[in-house]
């Protein structure tokens, strides 16, 4: 019986071969597709975890800022700030500070050390152009 089922000629036809190749390619494509989808899912999962982490980080940062705001709004802190302001102990505004390069300061110090009268604060008018020796605070005009 088994002998009857055996293919006698053993001939390999083109259509048979093509069918096998197509089946093989479909199987490979399916495998690749599954692998690709799985990889994509894993990647998305990683992204979700990453986003979760960032969300938590931002949440924590928010809480930290809230905490700082609450601390700044605390009556004792406000009173301390008011007391400082009453003593006019304020940080100078940016326009009140004239910034000079360090090298210029060093050069000027050397140049002016000989002829500057002792105990006087150098001002722009006293110094040569570009040789300011010290940041100058401009007193703001009193508010009427």
């Amino acid at each position: 019986m088994a002998r009857n089922r055996r293919r006698v000629d053993g001939e390999v036809t083109f259509s048979w071969m093509a069918g096998k190749i197509v089946m093989f390619m479909v199987a490979v494509a399916c495998l690749l597709g599954i692998t690709f989808l799985k990889q994509r899912n894993l990647k998305m999962g990683d992204e979700i975890v990453q986003l979760d982490r960032e969300l938590r980080k931002i949440g924590d940062l928010n809480a930290s800022i809230d905490s700082q705001v609450a601390r700044c709004k605390a009556p004792r802190e406000l009173e301390a700030r008011m007391a400082r302001l009453k003593l006019t102990m304020v940080h100078p505004a940016e326009h009140q500070i004239r910034r000079v390069a360090e090298s210029v300061v060093q050069l000027t110090r050397r140049a002016r050390s000989a002829d500057r009268p002792s105990g006087t604060l150098a001002s722009k008018s006293q110094s040569q152009p570009g040789t300011l020796v010290q940041a100058q605070f401009i007193r703001p005009k009193p508010v009427q």
């Binding site: 998305m44 975890v49 930290s64 709004k73 605390a74 009556p75 004792r76």
Partner: protein
């Protein structure tokens, strides 16, 4: 070509072996899948499946103006695995990389501000878990994590934690309470509102890979956490700050053992401020036990003369006396049941107002005798003495609040009525006293003290709202009006509380100076000095109770030490609340209106 018999035998043998192998394999599979399924499923589940808790954030406590009083921030506990680090160091040593330990110590020392020697000592410990520092800020922890990752150092454990933070420090500490290490409220509002503040932890069932990382695609159940509700209080941090500043000044001067001040809105029973001295900072890791007690609800005191308001208001309510009725005050020395009752300001004949103005013990005892024991007892019960002001119901109680002592009528002695009339033989809490005074201020309704106004979600949606609650009527409106009229005379030049007067307002109040019982006898040099008053007397907005326990110094009368504090607090609170003055304000030497200048305008 057909197989020979030898081939057939070989095939049979090989086939038999294969079959036997397959049968054995099937058998093993059967055993694993059927008999030992549960055991291996558990092992696999333990290795890959995890249930992660998603912790809920504890709710925020806010004041009446929605300023943050307590909130939770994320912090880290930094620990190390010394054994793992030593193994890693040995591996690196073999690879001629000697810097692991020194790099690690450098990073930890800079981040945690700990001496290098201390870190080295801890790294030598024979343990797999050694805590280096707790409550490290998130930012610092992240910087350290980055630095460690850059140097590829492992073995440092960063554990997430929540920390309760009170931005105002000790301000309002006795009201807010604090939380324990498990983030559970153990006192004050933190304890009382624990169920609302706590929130509900969520969970997530996850699967992990061989390296312990979550495989998100296999994320199973995901139940997000519900954060705790925010609790909005009736207290105002600005008023509280005024109260605490003034209290600190007074305490520095008077140096009492303890002091209490309560500010209440009489019409609603809302507590606007409550302060105790000594106090504590809830942010501090360790707190002195003695400072933790909220004396406003847990200290039992004999109130002294402030209690006369109960005697006289009840007699007025029962129509036993009228404000114009006069009493012979025995020139300050009255023999009753074999004991003398004396007055500090001896007087002859006084009307009811005069009895309050001069704080006459003799006069108030005579009124109490007219009232009788039964009615006096009932009056005390009506005013809420001997009961918790906050409430007796389980779950509604303020932790640590006591009932006070009102002895049952059957155990009264012959002298009890005379003692009660002037505020002895009764134990009250400051909260009970201010609640009783508020009842007179609002026309006779005893209000339930109110601290929490609202429970709301984080977006402001109201979950629960609390409304003012009238517990009972204690006196009728006429009696309340009459006693207010009499009490305004107490804060006059002739009265005992002249120092409580606030320009621009009629003040009603009563002083109290009670001897403290020490070893069964009343001490001659230890006192409870108090003042309880409200203003504007015509339409009271604020009721303030001030109490000093064992003041030191020459002055010890309530009118001398408690009344000035009432005034200084009252003035600033009136300015803050923009209370309309009810009497013309006397001009100052500069010719300017005092109240207007207080408000900062010209």
């Amino acid at each position: 070509m057909f197989p020979t018999s030898a081939h057939r035998i070989r095939i049979l043998v090989v086939g038999s072996f294969l079959l036997a192998g397959l049968v054995a394999l099937a058998g093993r599979l059967y055993v694993l899948h059927v008999f030992r399924h549960d055991e291996y499923a558990t092992v696999a589940s333990r290795m890959h499946d995890r249930k992660v808790t998603l912790p809920a954030t504890r709710g925020v406590i806010l004041d009446a103006k929605s300023n943050v009083l307590a909130h939770s921030i994320s912090v880290r506990t930094i620990a190390v695995d010394p054994q793992f680090i030593r193994e890693e160091a040995e591996k690196k040593l073999k690879a001629k990389q000697k810097t692991l330990i020194s790099d690690l110590v450098q990073i930890l020392s800079e981040g945690l501000l700990l001496p290098k020697s201390e870190i080295m000592d801890r790294l030598k410990q024979p343990s797999r878990y050694v805590v280096l520092k707790k409550k490290v800020s998130d930012e610092t922890a992240r910087k350290m994590q980055d630095a460690l990752a850059q140097k590829r150092i492992r073995g440092v454990i960063f554990e997430d934690e929540q920390m309760r933070f009170y931005p105002n420090g000790s301000l309002m500490s006795h009201v807010l309470g604090y939380v324990n290490a498990g983030h559970t409220g153990v006192d004050g509002v933190e304890y009382m509102m624990q169920a609302d503040l706590r929130g509900q932890d969520g969970w997530r069932k996850i699967e992990c890979d061989s390296r312990g990382r979550e495989i998100v695609v296999f994320r199973n159940e995901d139940f997000p956490a519900r954060n705790g509700y925010n609790v909005l209080l009736s207290l105002d941090q600005a008023i509280q700050n005024i109260v605490e500043q003034e209290l600190d000044k007074a305490v520095q001067k008077i140096r009492p053992d303890s002091a209490v001040i309560i500010v209440m809105r009489p019409s609603t029973g809302e507590i606007l401020a409550l302060a105790n001295r000594p106090t504590y900072d809830p942010n501090a890791a360790s707190k002195k036990v003695d400072t933790l007690r909220n004396r406003a609800i847990s200290d039992l005191v004999e109130p002294g003369s402030t209690f006369k308001i109960v005697t006289i208001a009840s007699a007025l309510d029962q129509r036993i006396i009228d404000l114009q009725d006069t009493f012979w005050c025995e020139n300050g020395r009255f023999l009753y049941e074999g004991r003398y009752i004396t007055d500090h300001h001896p007087a002859g004949t006084l009307d009811v107002t005069g009895i309050l103005v001069h704080s006459s013990n003799v006069g108030s005892v005579k009124i109490a005798l007219m009232l009788g024991s039964q009615k006096m007892y009932q009056a005390m019960a009506r005013f809420g003495f001997g009961q918790r002001a906050w409430g007796d119901k389980e779950g509604e109680r303020w932790l640590g609040e006591i009932r006070g002592i009102v002895r049952p009528l059957r155990s009264w002695s012959k002298l009890s009525l005379s003692r009660l009339a002037m505020g002895y033989e009764v134990g009250v809490t400051p909260l009970q006293m201010v609640t009783a005074m508020s009842a007179l201020a609002n026309g006779g309704n005893l209000m339930r003290p109110m601290i929490v106004k609202r429970v709301q979600q984080q977006d402001g949606t109201v979950v629960r709202e609390f409304f003012p609650e009238v517990r009972r009527r204690v006196v009728d409106q006429k009696a309340a009006r009459d006693i207010t009229k009499a009490l305004t005379q107490v804060v006059s030049k002739e009265g005992t509380a002249a120092k409580a007067a606030i320009p621009g307002y009629h003040i009603a109040g009563k002083t109290g100076t009670a001897h403290i019982a020490v070893n069964g006898q009343y001490s001659k040099d230890q006192y409870i000095s108090s003042f309880c008053g409200y203003f504007p007397a015509e339409e009271p907005e604020v009721c303030i109770y001030v109490m000093f326990n064992r003041p030191r110094g020459k002055e010890y009368f309530g009118g001398a030490i408690a009344a000035p504090l009432f005034k200084s607090v009252g003035e600033r609170v009136a300015s803050y609340l923009h209370l309309r003055p009810t009497v013309p304000i006397p001009p100052t030497p500069e010719g300017r209106n005092q109240l207007v200048s207080m408000e900062g305008g010209t």
